[in-house]
Symmetry: C2
Subunit: 424 residues, 2 copies
Amino acid sequence: MTLRETMRQLASRAKESARELGRLSREEKDACLRAMAEALDASRDLIARANAEDMAGAAESGISAAMLDRLRLDDRRIDAMIRGLRDVAGLPDPVGRVLDDRVRPNGLRLRKVAVPIGVIVIIYESRPNVTVDSAGLCFKSGNATILRGGKEARRSSQALVEALVEAGRRTNARFPAHAIQRVETTDRDAIRDLLACTESVDLCIPRGGEGLIRAVSECSRVPVIKHYKGVCHVYVDGEADPAMASEIVLNAKVQRPGVCNAMETLLVDAAIAPAFLPDMARKLAEKSVELRVDDRAAGLLPPDLPRVKPASEEDWHAEYLDLILAVRVVDGVEEAIRHIHRYGSAHSDAIVTRNEDRARQFLAEVDSAAVYWNASTRFTDGGEFGLGAEIGISTDKVGARGPMGLEELTTYKWIGLGTGQVRK
Amino acid sequence: MTLRETMRQLASRAKESARELGRLSREEKDACLRAMAEALDASRDLIARANAEDMAGAAESGISAAMLDRLRLDDRRIDAMIRGLRDVAGLPDPVGRVLDDRVRPNGLRLRKVAVPIGVIVIIYESRPNVTVDSAGLCFKSGNATILRGGKEARRSSQALVEALVEAGRRTNARFPAHAIQRVETTDRDAIRDLLACTESVDLCIPRGGEGLIRAVSECSRVPVIKHYKGVCHVYVDGEADPAMASEIVLNAKVQRPGVCNAMETLLVDAAIAPAFLPDMARKLAEKSVELRVDDRAAGLLPPDLPRVKPASEEDWHAEYLDLILAVRVVDGVEEAIRHIHRYGSAHSDAIVTRNEDRARQFLAEVDSAAVYWNASTRFTDGGEFGLGAEIGISTDKVGARGPMGLEELTTYKWIGLGTGQVRK
């Protein structure tokens, strides 16, 4: 079989299994998920061995320490995967929700009902836990999954998928044989061939760095929901409560700098900058944050402050994911909004102000998945939103936007219940 | 400017205008729409002249009579466009609907609010009325539109767009200058260049034949919502009420055969076929319907029936849009569902039966935008669903599915209202 034929077979088997999956009740799905959690627990040795081989291979090929760390599966990370599956089992079934219910004048009853999307391809890098998290969320929402992880994690992923599938089969004879599949080949062309299967694949969700997401989007013939970078802003307005602004800025930058909802650029209204910025900069310096500042901000900072550099154009675009912060002084909310439109990534942006009109303008005009008034950007997260587990945070506008949980992994169909109605 | 630069400018102007559009209230938008309707009425002569030139050019180039007819703008069609704009003005504003509203344990209030998608490109063929219908729906839903119609209709489209934009400007000084734009060049590469503007264009909706939609989907880098063909089925189950089944079959085939929600294949349960099919075939023959039948159906039909041909494999895939019907005898609901999965286009499919279990199975397992129990497939339509005007019927699953009206032209954002909350 050629690569293309192999991918087509994988996709069409997934389609078939997606249909079978639709016949499982919530209870049946949850029982499978709980059995999968137990299977991971029981397979720790097997998983650890596979992971050790992956780690050894990766170390030999000379990948970075950060990538090695992402690849590592220790007991704590296995525990987190197990907990994740159990949490998903406990969440409500997103399938079958009635989104609309109307009776037309001719008596035809129309119900809009949430249904699974069908076949979802997940493409990711070296973190093996994405395998389990994605498979669990897709399974619960009634979707068949095709997983394509980084080649350095292939043995770990294989061990994990085998444990999940075996547990599903053991628990329920109707567990669809191809509900959760892995792309086994490490051939890079496999992605292109798989994402050309428009007949069978309904959606692709790439999870990882910008390069991966861009490459997938460019080659895909099926819809892609992108989880791009988070160039998140906090705008401290002239009428901000300085203490509140300071807490929000610190939280958004340093509480967990390596994630997509962390702030990357601080915008400060010129009206408050002389009073606010020196003290704020000192607090950030205490947390070892490096500042990349525009000329106006530079003029306000104490000369003895460590780690201050002039910002270049690239800094406004940068997703540092690190203890680095771009800082710019702007003339009010209009300029802040213009800056965010020009440089932002439509992820999460916040305004701190006591002025309701300016807040309303910011919330209305900043075109991002999540916009905050007097709160940290760090809240953009399925768990924090109370949506349960999430498969990622979409920076797209079509399909799902913001935290993408179980409900966002469904679509809908219209069901017409008639008594012989025909159209006049 | 190169073509690519021209397209990029068009797109980025649209983006800017989309932001300005968001500042108009419902009343302001509706006033513009009503003024647009009046402007069309006042510009009948201008429009007729432009259309006559298009018609003359098209006739010279030797296009088909059917295409010439689609190109024609007579008073009746102009009336329909005017009525369309007024109807849209009367519909509720889809923007600003609160889709979710929750207060988290930390006091952070999260609201999920419907917002415009942004910039929508509409690509269509020769029917000039698509220009006005699309522009009106997109404007009402707060989206900037870039219209790319067929080159044979370019003078008509230009006259229409000019009338709409002038009316908008006259009515409201804040009417965004580039809320409604046309791609002026007829260069085919313009589509590819425009749909490469991922920074500015949020969505593309191609409207037209399968070839157009496929070409657009293949070249686009921005999300596309497809309105593919409708290979719709009616399955007459063994426990159908024959009189009801007969009425539904006739309606689905002959009431308006040239539209996407008309039935193209009739599936008849073997258990009822001998009793049902001969009479049904005669009724269809009376309406001049040509039948393309499988062997089992052929064996049941009276030999004197006119216009009966054996079906080939292509017939099961065919969207005739004509008085032609493929007919197949199947062994029960399972085989009907398998046939629909294999050959259908996920548009609209119906079962006629008194057996609730079989109906439930059909409704659950047929993976189409609209599924009916004891009703005609012809109901899949924004107006019939009570959704108001529609821009088309999506056969996609991501973004919008089925009739795509004003609400389906919006996305959402999350608005977080805090009092200084930070993440622990």
